[in-house]
Amino acid sequence: MTYGAGIAKGLMVTMRNLFRKPTTVQYPEERLPQHPRFRGEDFVWYEERCTGCASCAKYCPLGIIKIVTSPSGTQTQEGEKYRLEVFDIDIARCMFCGLCVEACPYDALHMGSGFERGRYARNDLTIHIDELKSAPKRPSTWFRPQLEAKGYDPFSGETVPWQGVSRASKNDPTKEEMDSRWVERQ
């Protein structure tokens, strides 16, 4: 083999690539598109749907979800909810495996789509219940096929109310009907 031919061949590839569009993006200004299924850190939690069963806390491999509940009334009836006092997700230790979302039987907990939650102190990384309540509800479609079926995109800016994330059909009783049933029986 004569020396030089290979180098010329390699330079041909270099020349071809020289006139390509660059594949890099200037990150803070430009962003790569994310898929709606992206498992991000700003968890979306629907207070109305959550019953305080703590399935998510039990299924978490790291045990980073802390839930403290108390009965909502003096007489707790069947079908009535617990009142949640503490719902802490320690993002500093979270690995975003999504098992908590997979575990939730009431579709109350969803993954978010963000990845830029940097803080100066480690304690600030915990998401508390107040933040979960007030955060905009833009859930990721990960493990929520009902959202994917609607063609919902968390990056479009629209928020989803708690009624909109249901897997249930329209024939199911509404919350008011359920409440009235209990009142009638009492």
Partner: protein, 378 residues
């Protein structure tokens, strides 16, 4: 009075003693925190002692106190360039242990995911090998550019790019979204041209050939004796591939060849991976054509309680045979979880491959085994 100008007589023969050099643990070419204690005579390597354990996280012990489903998240972190293959090996072991059936579509999705992961892992290997040969970063980023598209496909499948946690005992957690299949078709159409370009860059490159041809020849008998597996073994001419020898999932229905090397030198170890990436593309294309409809997952409970017993599940991971040996005592978590990691066992032949070569070739030879420290130390 002595004459200060007068030098003592030099000895007839210069005394030389071997020099001990520590390569690592923080060395950019050791693929993580790996330390090599090299004893050198001048520039020639006399002896090598690998020292590892710097990245030990106790995965096997952590698995003993988590439920069978939760351990899937730990396996992502073994070989972090091939998380899908690790997931697959683990769930195969659990399915064997608990007797869980997998739906057809789930099996096909797992094969597609594992083969895409193999291409991604081999692209990283080729890129870093060229990096170690002195072609700094440009060819590495050519590899990373196409790997990025595979990671985008993973993001569509399971919402994550590296730590995927995609598979569950009984299938995969979720079906692929509708926009996954057109994206996969585009990828399958583009990838062969790209592999041609990459192979053209390295296969006939004079510098690559001069530095890797005939370097660190590992004979087939030696490789088998050292219990090597994966591309390193196949580069030595042994056509041993678990996808053919012990087909799991739907590999029995796939048409593909096992590329083998002729000489077992570093050049063959480099090229055999590029050929394997092409075979992986063939498998993905077939699986994409044949994939049936239906469910992707058998509804297994989250807290699986397998009967008392033991099971060994193994797959052909990008680095070699990856096996999980699980012992159940009827509880919700494994009583014992032993991981047979290919990177760790492929290091057995490192000393035989290195002794007698110059220190400049050390990094190239070590890199050609393609070890991953997350898997060596576990």
């Amino acid at each position: 009075m002595t004459n200060l100008q007068q030098h003592p007589e030099p000895p007839a023969e210069l005394e030389a003693e071997p020099v001990v050099v520590n390569l690592g643990p923080q060395h950019p070419s050791t693929h993580g925190v790996f330390r090599l204690r090299v004893i050198m005579d001048g520039e020639t390597i006399q002896d090598v002692e690998p020292i590892f354990g710097y990245l030990h996280r106790g995965t096997e012990k952590l698995a003993e106190e988590r439920s069978y489903t939760q351990v899937v998240t730990l396996t992502d972190r073994l070989d972090y360039t091939a998380a899908m293959s690790n997931n697959l090996a683990y769930v195969l072991a659990v399915e064997k242990l608990a007797g869980i059936e997998v739906p057809e579509r789930g099996m096909y999705l797992r094969v597609i995911a594992a083969e895409l992961q193999r291409i991604a892992a081999h692209l990283i290997f080729v890129g870093f090998s060229l990096d170690e040969l002195g072609a700094f970063h440009t060819p590495l980023l050519y590899g990373f550019r196409e790997r990025e598209r595979i990671l985008d496909l993973f993001e569509m499948l399971c919402g994550a790019r590296i730590t995927v946690s995609y598979m569950r005992p009984g299938g995969v957690h979720q079906d692929a979204p509708v926009d996954f299949w057109p994206a996969l078709d585009r990828f399958l159409a583009d990838m062969p041209h790209y592999l041609d370009e990459l192979q053209g860059l390295i296969a006939e490159n004079e510098i690559v050939v001069a530095r890797t041809k005939g370097l660190a020849v590992l004979l087939a008998a030696k490789a088998i004796n050292c219990s090597m597996s994966g591309p390193v073994l196949r580069a030595s001419g042994v056509a041993w591939d678990l996808r053919k020898q012990d087909p799991y999932d739907v590999y029995g229905r796939m048409q593909f060849d096992i590329p083998v090397g002729a000489n077992g030198d570093t050049y063959d170890r480099l090229l055999v991976r590029l050929y394997e990436a092409r075979q992986s593309l063939r498998i993905v294309a077939q699986a994409r054509k044949e994939i049936p409809g239906g469910p992707v997952r058998t509804q297994a409970p989250f807290f699986i309680r397998p009967p008392v017993g033991e099971a060994y599940g193994h797959v052909e991971a990008p680095k070699g045979e990856l096996g999980f040996y699980l012992v159940s005592q009827g509880g919700i978590s494994p009583y014992r979880c032993k991981i047979r990691s290919p990177s760790f066992i492929n290091l057995t032949a490192l000393k035989e491959m290195l002794v007698g070569y110059k220190v400049a070739d050390l990094v190239v030879i070590f890199g050609s085994i393609d070890v991953n420290m997350g898997e060596v130390d576990r």
